[in-house]
């Protein structure tokens, strides 16, 4: 790398740093420019809000995933946790006259309670994954893989394999638009971005997450409660999966136990594209937002441009790999 650096001496340190830090933003801007030249409809306000809405669900999950990956972990269970939190949420939020009601005698309650239940289910499942990792030292990949199957199983058991639909308007409203143009999923998403950024950068919890991921021994020595931190990180990740379930139910008006299959991978991809390093200790909320946006722009743009659906998948995969290549180079330069 050092020879390479010498060749690049002509470049000012400032611009190089900017490129390292914001390289992925350039990718996003290039994509936006490219797509909007080929298809001007891409930049219509209708479509811009579309793209943001489309990134909201896996974007919210990617925020939690950022904490997890910074701590040098991974959480494969979030898609299944979304489904489980979602069926619980839906079962508590059906209209009084829904056919085949899950709880036939349950009166309609303020939507706040079903939402609280969904968040609690998410946080509990996540917290349990964290507990497993902290106490048994089973690798996060395996623990969360186990939880992924367990949560999906519970979702199927709870719902008896059937979708739970006809949800109250106060819930489906959350999938709609404010003032007729501002999508509520996007508002929820942006609020969570701010909260997550504050948590990660301004609190001891966030600093502990970086410390645990950077060097777990050093973190322990310097007084970080590693176990508590791990449990809190996974609980927060699960909580956000529960919140994603709320947005999901709001947008779809029905939750199927098979919902959100594979979303964990989209969330991990968004986080990774955004530069959060799987070697731990490095990553930003901003990055997760940009990563999720890149995936949404890509899916939306390729559809707009009429690219063959099979090729869309190939391109998505290539972008993820290329983003990680950039990410690894960035970290290599730092050493």
């Amino acid at each position: 790398m050092s020879a390479n650096k010498n060749i690049l001496k002509f470049e000012s340190a400032g611009s190089k740093e900017i490129l390292q830090k914001y390289g992925i933003v350039f990718v996003l801007i290039l994509m936006i420019i490219g797509i909007s030249i080929l298809e001007p409809a891409f930049l219509s306000s209708y479509n811009v809000f579309n793209v943001l809405t489309q990134s909201a669900i896996f974007g919210i999950m990617a925020l939690g995933m950022t904490f997890v990956i910074i701590s040098k972990g991974i959480d494969l269970s979030v898609g299944s946790v979304l489904a489980l939190a979602g069926v619980v949420l839906a079962s508590l939020a059906q209209t009084a006259d829904a056919t085949g009601k899950y709880f036939p005698n349950l009166a309609e309650m303020p939507v706040f309670f079903p939402i609280l239940a969904a968040l609690a289910v998410g946080a509990l499942m996540g917290g349990f994954t964290g507990l497993l990792i902290a106490k048994t030292h089973i690798p996060a990949f395996i623990s969360s893989l186990g939880m992924m199957t367990v949560a999906r199983g519970f979702a199927l058991i709870y719902s008896d394999g059937k979708p739970i639909s006809t949800l109250v308007p106060s819930l489906t409203r959350l999938g709609g638009k404010l003032f007729g143009f501002l999508p509520i999923p996007v508002i929820i998403y942006f609020i969570m971005i701010v909260i997550s950024a504050v948590l990660l950068n301004k609190t001891r919890f966030g600093k502990s997450a970086y410390a645990v991921g950077g060097n777990i021994k050093a973190a322990e020595v310097s007084g970080v409660n590693v176990n508590q931190t791990l449990i809190a990180i996974y609980a927060y990740c699960g909580l956000l999966a529960g919140l994603a379930a709320v947005v999901f139910a709001g947008r779809v008006g029905s939750v199927h136990p098979g919902a959100a299959t594979g979303y964990e991978l989209t969330a991990i991809a968004a986080t990774t594209i955004g530069g959060t390093s799987h070697s731990g200790g490095i990553g930003t909320i901003w990055g997760a937002f940009v990563g999720a946006l890149i995936l949404a722009v890509l899916r939306n743009g390729l559809t707009l441009l009429g690219v063959d659906a099979y090729w869309q998948q190939v391109t998505e995969g290539v972008i993820i790999v290329v983003a990680v290549i950039i990410d690894m180079r960035k970290n290599a330069t730092k050493d």
Binding site: G23, V27, G34, A309
Partner: protein, 312 residues
């Protein structure tokens, strides 16, 4: 800067993929086809038929999209296609209970929407500018029984192997069997009606029991699917009864093989081509100014030794 090279490479790949597809011209009609899942083999036959139909007429273009069995992805694709100003939508629902937002989006965009194969409006009337093309399970049962009635010459005893009892397909196919007997073949008696849960082994066990219980009174077996029918065929082979007619539904390869060697009398095929073409035709006629029926029922196809060759 290697990073730039990487970026460049990526953009080249991207634009390369884009240009390889070519840009669409703006004249003519563009129809979005949002499939539930490209991995669903049956659905790809439906989709291919719709594509072939539109490729065969001028001024029409079809855009195929894959929802990968994800309701949110399906909604996103619909919204994206609408942003692209397509003229009509054909949707195979991932989840029929989750189509509300898609119907609303199409309505707000003022474009016609045709659901194919899975009906979100079972027993309900469809909203304006929304259409459905599909098959009725009850017809499969009727077509099966019509043929059985002919083979038995209107008299004898039959057993019905039902699928899972909470499944609409199982209930409707059985209902179809029964309605034909009631209307047309009063001389045929239903000796037994039990569930084999779609399973070959359970179909076999039930048939063995029926052979013991009803002996020569049993002349035909109507199975809700091919797996159970093939189980019945095995049981009959083992007991040496070659006089009993067996019929299934689905036209799986094993069943077509059994129709070929005469052990199975018939199977019923859900008409993928008919449904795909049907959806395309509905949209074609809406866009060219006519008003098709809100619902188009596509009949099933009965496969017997006589027409088996057409389906190999």
């Amino acid at each position: 800067m290697r990073k730039f090279l990487v970026l460049l490479m990526m953009m080249t790949l991207l634009t390369g993929a884009v240009f390889a597809e070519g840009q669409q011209e703006d004249d003519g009609f563009k129809v979005g086809y949002v499939c539930n899942n490209f991995n669903d083999t049956f659905q790809t036959y439906v989709m291919d038929a719709a594509e072939a139909y539109f490729n065969g007429i001028d001024d029409f273009e079809i855009v195929l999209q894959d929802s990968v069995e994800d309701v949110i992805r399906q909604q996103d694709l619909v919204n994206t296609l609408i942003a692209q100003k397509i003229d009509a939508l054909i949707v195979v629902p991932v989840d029929t209970s989750a189509m509300g937002p898609i119907v609303r989006a199409a309505d707000e965009a003022g474009i016609p929407l045709c659901f194919v194969n899975r009906n979100p409006y079972a027993d309900k009337t469809l909203p304006e500018n929304v259409y459905y093309v599909g098959s009725q399970e009850v017809i499969a049962g009727q077509q099966q029984m019509e043929y059985m009635g002919e083979l038995l010459d209107g008299k004898g005893g039959v057993g019905i192997l039902m699928g899972k009892l909470d499944n609409e397909g199982a209930l409707k196919r059985t209902e179809g069997n029964e309605s034909v007997i009631a209307d047309k073949y009063p001389g045929i008696k239903i000796l037994a009606k039990e569930t084999g849960n779609w399973q070959r082994d359970q179909g076999m066990t039930l048939t063995e029991n029926w052979i013991t219980a009803y002996g020569s009174d049993l002349n035909g077996i109507l199975a809700n699917n091919d797996e159970m029918a093939l189980g019945a065929v095995e049981a009959l082979k083992a007991s040496g009864r070659e006089d009993i007619f067996v019929m299934g539904v689905d036209a799986i390869p094993d069943a077509k093989g059994a129709v070929g060697n005469g052990t199975l009398s018939a199977t019923v095929l859900q008409d993928a081509v008919g449904q795909g073409e049907g959806g395309a035709k509905v949209i074609h006629s809406v866009l060219t100014g006519s008003t098709p029926e809100a619902i188009t029922w596509v009949p099933f196809v009965l496969i017997t030794p006589e027409n088996l060759a057409d389906f190999q």
